[in-house]
Symmetry: C2
Subunit: 354 residues, 2 copies
């Protein structure tokens, strides 16, 4: 179980340190886990002058899975575009062919108050958003800035999907729906965009291989509304890269506790990159204040999806549930009556609960 | 005051009928209002075989303003793409050069319970979303379906903005911010898309002409989150066509009463198309159940933005506030203790309050 560990920037190193402690416990208990670190994002730029250094590429290509903290920070904002931290993230996704991004939006009962939505609207919320991650307008060519036929400055990007790109993400989404409540909602803007009309057609075609899954379709603007109006109508949602970027962030915020939400980005063979859904939080970096639970839960996803270690994954997830039930809270999820702990304090609690 | 009236499809004719009654009162009181009707959307297809018939084009081009009900219905879903109702909507926007879409998201205190968000998060909510409406990936060329270099089927669309397109919407947005709380948030995905990086640069440039307005920038994924987390942080938001489509629907649903929200789509000379933010609601069409208030408030926006009749606009808006205070509610906004009224019943109440 070769794992490349990329702490990244901001709170990245702190939250990764706690996830490592969890993996160390599992190793002591017999899992053949090997960890090696490399820099990505701003850390890559600082060490090697680029956000996805060759050293990191080699390590990640050779690994079975990648565990990432977070990338980005204000000190890198003035860098040239290709050198910026988020470029490292886009590059590693493309390099490792991580086309399937899984982003659960789950409300932990103990944290129900953290949501800005009324309890009856979000209690029991459990949505899985499947976002295509290596195509669409993120990578489509041509792109850039230039001068148009009228001699005026302009800029452009290309939304593009090929049949095989849509087919493979459809299979991932249907596969996940089969393991859950067998309801899949494909999100498009087929009334305006040919790319997403094509997307929709392929979804309908692939659906024939999964007769037990109930496939529905929704326009992206309506999906953004329905997530606010009645999010519990959804089980699994599947959509393209840019719509998925927007909707998965909206969905995670419905829980009010984005510090709890992990994510997985998988290739065709279940090699994956695992990272918390939240960002690098430069404002609290280095202060031992961050919530490490999303990263620890990302490690659990890794055990499940890449290594097929369902038992170990559940063990970690149960440890997280235990510490929540025990009342331990980092600042972001704190409420009166609970015990406020630091990032490493939360790590202590999880290790104890394991 | 020449107004082209397009009832459209579904509940369109019913809600337009009530807005016409309001305009009739104003005419009787001295405003030189002239109304003429024409079909758009499915109604255009039924009458002339196309969603934006020449008859309608002529009337709308000659008018000072257009008042629209809504378009679309299941009976048109199987039509060829160019014949579908929403194509009529896209065509009229482009034909009349209605590049500035204004979509207020306002919470009426009497309807606070309708929101799925906690009262303290949304009470007093008053956001104006300025969406560019005639550019971006909606209209960008090239677009379509084809076969790529690998011989595989694919589809593509082009996100594209020229400098003048961004500049003119920027001026509209800054102008509106000047009349409100002087806070403008420009939404982009400048970390990934050159088109929106270009957009952001131009916003910063135009900002120099509005030194009193505080301009901020936010990534679209974060904006989708922040609208859920703390929507009251926003005053005016400005963004491109596709992001605006998604975010304005999300924002309007925060109020829980989309049946109350009007919209305006303006050209360079304040000629405008005015329509409710909601759709054609085929399920309740013809049953005299629809909420006509968003359409009536759209007529008020028309009086304000196209005709500069602030006093008449406020008179209509106050009449709407009065009927809410009196407890009249259509089914969509009904709660116990209020008086349930039909679509025309609500029209009666507004006319009485005028
Ligand atoms: C940082 C950025 C490039 C990235 C994306 O847009 O994919 C982020 O928002 C995400 O969702 O992982
Ligand atoms: C019907 C559709 C083409 C339209 C759009 O996407 O612009 C609608 O969603 C809107 O926002 O007015």
């Amino acid at each position: 179980m070769k794992i490349a560990v990329l702490p990244g920037d901001g709170i990245g190193p702190e939250i990764i340190a706690q996830a490592r402690r969890v993996l160390d416990v599992l190793r002591q208990d017999g899992l053949p886990i090997e960890l090696e670190e490399a820099p990505l994002g701003g850390a890559g730029y600082d060490a090697y002058g680029v956000p996805y250094p060759e050293f990191t590429q080699k390590l990640c290509r050779a690994a079975d899975a990648v565990l990432l903290g977070a990338v980005g920070g204000p000190q890198y904002d003035k860098l040239d575009r290709p050198l910026r931290p988020e470029r490292g993230l886009l590059a590693i996704r493309k390099d490792l062919n991580l086309f399937a991004n899984l982003r659960p939006a789950i409300l932990y009962p103990e944290l129900a108050n953290a949501s800005t939505l009324k309890p009856e609207v979000v209690s029991g919320l459990d949505i899985m958003i499947v976002r295509e991650l290596t195509g669409d307008i993120y990578f489509g060519q041509p792109r850039g800035m230039g001068v148009n036929e009228q001699g005026e400055r302009e800029a452009f990007n290309t939304m593009r999907y090929s049949e095989s790109e849509v087919r493979r993400i459809a299979h991932v989404a249907f596969g996940i729906a089969m393991k859950r409540n067998k309801k899949l909602c494909s999100v498009d803007k087929a009334n305006v965009l040919e790319t997403t009309e094509f997307w929709k057609e392929i979804m309908i075609d692939v659906a024939r291989e999964y007769p037990q899954v109930e496939l529905s379709h929704m326009y992206v603007d309506n999906a953004a509304m329905q997530l606010v109006r009645n999010p519990k109508q959804f089980d699994v949602m599947v959509t393209g890269n840019i719509f998925g970027d927007i909707l998965s962030d909206e969905a995670s915020m419905l829980t009010g506790s984005i510090g709890m939400l992990p994510s997985a980005s998988l290739d065709q063979n279940n090699k994956g990159l695992y990272e918390p859904s939240h960002g690098s939080a430069p404002d609290i970096a280095g202060k031992n204040l961050a919530n490490p639970l999303a990263t620890i839960l990302s490690a659990a996803m890794m055990l499940r999806y890449t290594f097929g270690q369902e038992e170990a994954a559940v063990r970690v997830e149960n440890a997280v549930k235990t510490v929540l039930a025990q009342g331990y809270r980092t600042g972001d999820i704190f409420e009166a009556g609970c015990e406020k702990v630091s990032c490493s304090g939360m790590g202590d609690a999880v290790v104890a609960a394991l």
